[in-house]
C-alpha cells in the first residue's frame, strides 16, 4: 500500500509541499514539512536543491532519471549517491535514448553534468539531447481540465469503481510540468542556449589516453583509472563532497558513462572469456565509494549482451545499486509474435537497492514493455491481446469427466490424465 502512496503523491509534489493540502494523498501518514523557523536546517537545505526531493518511503534524496515512468518503477527516482546500470539492448538505440534523457533532466534542473564516453565526443552527445516539453500555458489548461473532471466525477467514481483508484497509476502522457521529472520530445533537439547555460565536464577517453597498448593483468585498465581520477578531481574541486564549506548553494553532479565495458575503453571482457575480469568490477567498487561520499548520481550503460563470462554480469549487478535491462525486439523472433506487436521491447527491472531500509521498494508489476512513439518514450504494462479468433474453443467439463472416470471412483485426486490441465 505504501507503494501506492508513492505513486499517488509522486507526480505533483515536491518535498516542501508533501504535507496536507495535496489532494492526491491516499494515506494518512504525512511527512511534516519544514517549519518556517527551520527546525532541521540540514533537512531544509537538502530539500532546496533543485530537481531533488526526499523519498516518501525512507527519506532518501532522489533525483529524476528523466523518464517519470521509470522513476515510478524505481520507487520515486534515483537515489543520490547510487549507480543506475542500464543493460543495453542489442543495437544500442533505446539505451542511448535513456542516457540522453538522464542528461537532459540534469540540464533542465541546473545540475552539473559529467559525461564520459569512449565512442562519441561528449560535446556531440550534448548536441543530441531531446528538447523538453515546457509549454507552461498548455500545461495550465490541461491541469484545469483535469481538476474539473475530477471534482465532477469523483462522487460517481467512488460509488461505481472505487477499487480502480487503488491501482498504481502508470502515467502514459504529459500530465504536469513539475519540478521533479520532466517530459521530453524525442523528435526535437534541446535548444542551444540551454546547453550553453549548463555546466558540464566531458571525458572522451581517446583524447585522454597516452598509451593504448599497456594492459596489465589483474588491475584496473588504463581507461578506468583515468576516468576515476577525473571523477574524483571534479568532485573534489567543485565541492560535491562537502570539502568546500564556503559554497552555500549545493548542487548535484550527474555522471553519465556510456558503453562501459566495451573494447573501446581498453577492456576485453567483451572479447574474451578469461580476459581481465576484475577490472570492471574494481571500477564499479571504487566508483561506488566515490559516489556515496558525494552529492552525485550516476547512470552507466553497459553492453552486457557482449560480455562472454556470465559470472561477470552477476558480479556487476551486485556491485551496482539499481539495474534495469532493456531488451528490444528488433531482429529477434519476438518481433512477429502477436503478443508484442504494439511494443518495441521489454524492460526488466533486475535490481532495486535497499537503502536505509529493511525491504525493497519493488513495484508489483513485473511484465513491462516500452514503446518509442514519435515524441515520447512510454513504459507500459504488458497486456495480452484479446483472443478474438473463431477457432478458439474452450475446454468444457466433459473433458474433465473423462479422465476422472478412468482413475476409478475411490480416487480423490484431481484428474491428472492425458490432458494438460491446470487450474
Amino acid at each position: 500500500m505504501a507503494a501506492v502512496a508513492t505513486c499517488g503523491t509522486g507526480a505533483g509534489s515536491t518535498g516542501s509541499v508533501v504535507a496536507a493540502g495535496s489532494k492526491n494523498n491516499v494515506t494518512s501518514f504525512q511527512r511534516r514539512g519544514p517549519r518556517a523557523s527551520g527546525s532541521d536546517s540540514s533537512y531544509s537545505r537538502l530539500v532546496s536543491i533543485a530537481g531533488t526531493r526526499p523519498s516518501v518511503r525512507n527519506g532518501q534524496l532522489l533525483v529524476s532519471t528523466g523518464l517519470p515512468a521509470l522513476d515510478q518503477l524505481l520507487g520515486g527516482g534515483l537515489a543520490v549517491g547510487t549507480v543506475l546500470l542500464i543493460e543495453e539492448d542489442k543495437y544500442n538505440i533505446y539505451s542511448s535514448l535513456l542516457f540522453k534523457y538522464f542528461l537532459a533532466e540534469g540540464i533542465i534542473n541546473g545540475h552539473t553534468l559529467l559525461v564520459a564516453s569512449a565512442k562519441e565526443d561528449p560535446a556531440d552527445i550534448l548536441q543530441e539531447l531531446p528538447a523538453p516539453l515546457l509549454d507552461d500555458n498548455v500545461k495550465k489548461d490541461f491541469d484545469e481540465d483535469a481538476c474539473n473532471h475530477k471534482t465532477a466525477e469523483s462522487n460517481i467514481k467512488m460509488k461505481i469503481a472505487w477499487r480502480y483508484q487503488l491501482l498504481p497509476k502508470m502515467e502514459a502522457g504529459p500530465v504536469s510540468s513539475s519540478r521533479f521529472g520532466h517530459y521530453y520530445d524525442a523528435s526535437k533537439k534541446m535548444p542551444q542556449e540551454l546547453i550553453e547555460a549548463s555546466k558540464w565536464h566531458g571525458f572522451f577517453f581517446p583524447e585522454k589516453s597516452s598509451s593504448t597498448l599497456n594492459i596489465e593483468p589483474c588491475s584496473l585498465t588504463h581507461g578506468y583509472i583515468k576516468l576515476l581520477q577525473f571523477i574524483q578531481n571534479i568532485i573534489y574541486e567543485e565541492g560535491f563532497d562537502g570539502s568546500n564549506p564556503q559554497k552555500k548553494q549545493k548542487n548535484i553532479l550527474r555522471i553519465g558513462i556510456q558503453n562501459l565495458g566495451s573494447p573501446l575503453w581498453g577492456d576485453d571482457i567483451c572479447c574474451m572469456e578469461n580476459g581481465n575480469s576484475h577490472s570492471l568490477t574494481k571500477f564499479l567498487y571504487v566508483l561506488r565509494g566515490l559516489l556515496r561520499n558525494s552529492l552525485s548520481a550516476c547512470m552507466i550503460t553497459m553492453p552486457t549482451h557482449l560480455i562472454q563470462n556470465k559470472a561477470i554480469i552477476s558480479r556487476v549487478t551486485n556491485l551496482s545499486d539499481t539495474v534495469v535491462g532493456l531488451e528490444s525486439f528488433i531482429g529477434s523472433e519476438r518481433e512477429t509474435n502477436p503478443l508484442y506487436k504494439d511494443y518495441h521491447g521489454l524492460i526488466h527491472i533486475r535490481q532495486i537497492p535497499r537503502l536505509n531500509n529493511l525491504i525493497y521498494d519493488v513495484s508489483d508489476v513485473k511484465d513491462l514493455a516500452f514503446k518509442l512513439k514519435r515524441k515520447l518514450f512510454t513504459i507500459e504494462r504488458l497486456h495480452l491481446p484479446p483472443d478474438l479468433s473463431d477457432t478458439v474453443s474452450r475446454s468444457s467439463k466433459q473433458d474433465l469427466a473423462e479422465p476422472s472416470k478412468l482413475l476409478g471412483p475411490g480416487c480423490g485426486v484431481m484428474a491428472g490424465g492425458k490432458k494438460h490441465l491446470d487450474f
Partner: protein, 299 residues
C-alpha cells in the same frame, strides 16, 4: 539497392569457407577506385601480386598498397616497412590519407584480430575514422570507408560481437546452389537497423553483377515473413482440440444427464467390482452392542 552499396564507416565482410569474400572485396575496391576515391590497402594474407591480379593497370596505379605479407615482423630490416607492427601500420595508413573520400581495405581483419589484442584493434579502427574526420573537417560519416574482411569460422562469439557492435554495416556472405548472397545489416546512428539480402556474382573483371532474386532452379526461397507465432500454443491449458479429442468430447454423456443407458444400468443389479465393501473382523476389545452398533447412544 544503390544506397545500400554506398557504404561508409566500418564495413565488415564476413565470409566463410564455402563463400569467400575476397572477390567481393576486390569488386568494391574497383568500384571505389572508379568513383574517384583514394584507395589504401593493407595486405596481410595474400601476396601483393596475387591481390593485384584481376585489376587493370589504370586501377592498379591508383591503389596504395601496404604489404604486411612478405615480411610481417620486419626481419629483413629493409627500412621500408612500416614501424610499430600491424597497429603502427594502421595508424600510418591513417596519417597518409588526404582529406576527401577514402576507402581503406583491410585484407584481412581476421589476420589482425588473431595477432593483436581485440580491444586495441577496436580502438584503432575507431580512431581511424575520427582522425580522418578531424583532418578533413567534414562530417565523419561521409568520408572514410573501412572495408574489413573477416573470416567467420576463425573467431569466437566474443570478438565477432565486439566488432559487430562497432561496425556501421555488416555484410554476411552465404548462398544457395552456386549463387552467392549477401545479407546486409545497416546500422544507422539513431534509427532501426535494416536488413537486406542481395544476390550477386562477381564477374572475372571484378565488376559486381546484382541479381534481383535467387536463381530459379534453386530451392524455393524461404518465406520472408516467418509464420505468426500463436500465443495460445504453449499454455498449460488446451484451447484447441484435435479431431480425436473433439469426437471424444461429443460422444460423452454428462454425469447428471439421465439417459436411457443410465436408467438400464441402475435397474440392473450392479456388478461386484463397481461397489465397495468393508470387511471388518472384530477383535477381543470390541464390544458391539447389537442394538446400538455405532455406539453413540448415551445409555
Amino acid at each position: 539497392m544503390e544506397s545500400v552499396l554506398a557504404l561508409r564507416g566500418l564495413v565488415l565482410l564476413r565470409d566463410s569457407v564455402e563463400w569467400e569474400g575476397r572477390s567481393l572485396l576486390k569488386a568494391l575496391i574497383k568500384k571505389a577506385a572508379l568513383g574517384g576515391e583514394q584507395v589504401h590497402i593493407l595486405g596481410c594474407e595474400v601476396s601483393e601480386e596475387e591481390f593485384r591480379a584481376g585489376f587493370d593497370s589504370s586501377i592498379n596505379s591508383r591503389l596504395v598498397y601496404y604489404d604486411l605479407f612478405r615480411d610481417p615482423l620486419n626481419w629483413a630490416q629493409t627500412g621500408e616497412a612500416l614501424p610499430g607492427g600491424p597497429l603502427g601500420a594502421l595508424q600510418a595508413m591513417c596519417e597518409r590519407t588526404d582529406p576527401g573520400p577514402v576507402t581503406v581495405a583491410l585484407d584481412s581483419l581476421s589476420w589482425l584480430l588473431l595477432r593483436l589484442p581485440c580491444a586495441a584493434l577496436c580502438q584503432a579502427l575507431c580512431a581511424m575514422s575520427r582522425q580522418h574526420a578531424c583532418r578533413g573537417g567534414g562530417p565523419a560519416a561521409g568520408q572514410l570507408c573501412v572495408l574489413g574482411l573477416l573470416h567467420r569460422e576463425l573467431h569466437g562469439p566474443g570478438p565477432m560481437g565486439a566488432l559487430s557492435s562497432l561496425a556501421q554495416t555488416e555484410v554476411t556472405l552465404s548462398g544457395t546452389a552456386g549463387q552467392a548472397s549477401a545479407h546486409i545489416l545497416c546500422r544507422r546512428p539513431r534509427q532501426r537497423p535494416t536488413l537486406e539480402t542481395l544476390w550477386f556474382s562477381v564477374l572475372p573483371d571484378l565488376s559486381l553483377d546484382l541479381q534481383g532474386g535467387p536463381p530459379l532452379e534453386s530451392q524455393p526461397h524461404p518465406d520472408p515473413h516467418t509464420p505468426q507465432v500463436d500465443p495460445a500454443s504453449h499454455l498449460t491449458f488446451n484451447l484447441h482440440l484435435s479431431k480425436r479429442e473433439r469426437e471424444a468430447k461429443d460422444s460423452l454423456t454428462l454425469p447428471f444427464q439421465f439417459s436411457s443407458e443410465k436408467q438400464q444400468a441402475l435397474l440392473r443389479p450392479g456388478p461386484g467390482p463397481a461397489t465397495s465393501r468393508i470387511f471388518y473382523e472384530p477383535d477381543a476389545f470390541d464390544d458391539l452392542d447389537p442394538e446400538d452398533p455405532d455406539g453413540d447412544l448415551d445409555v
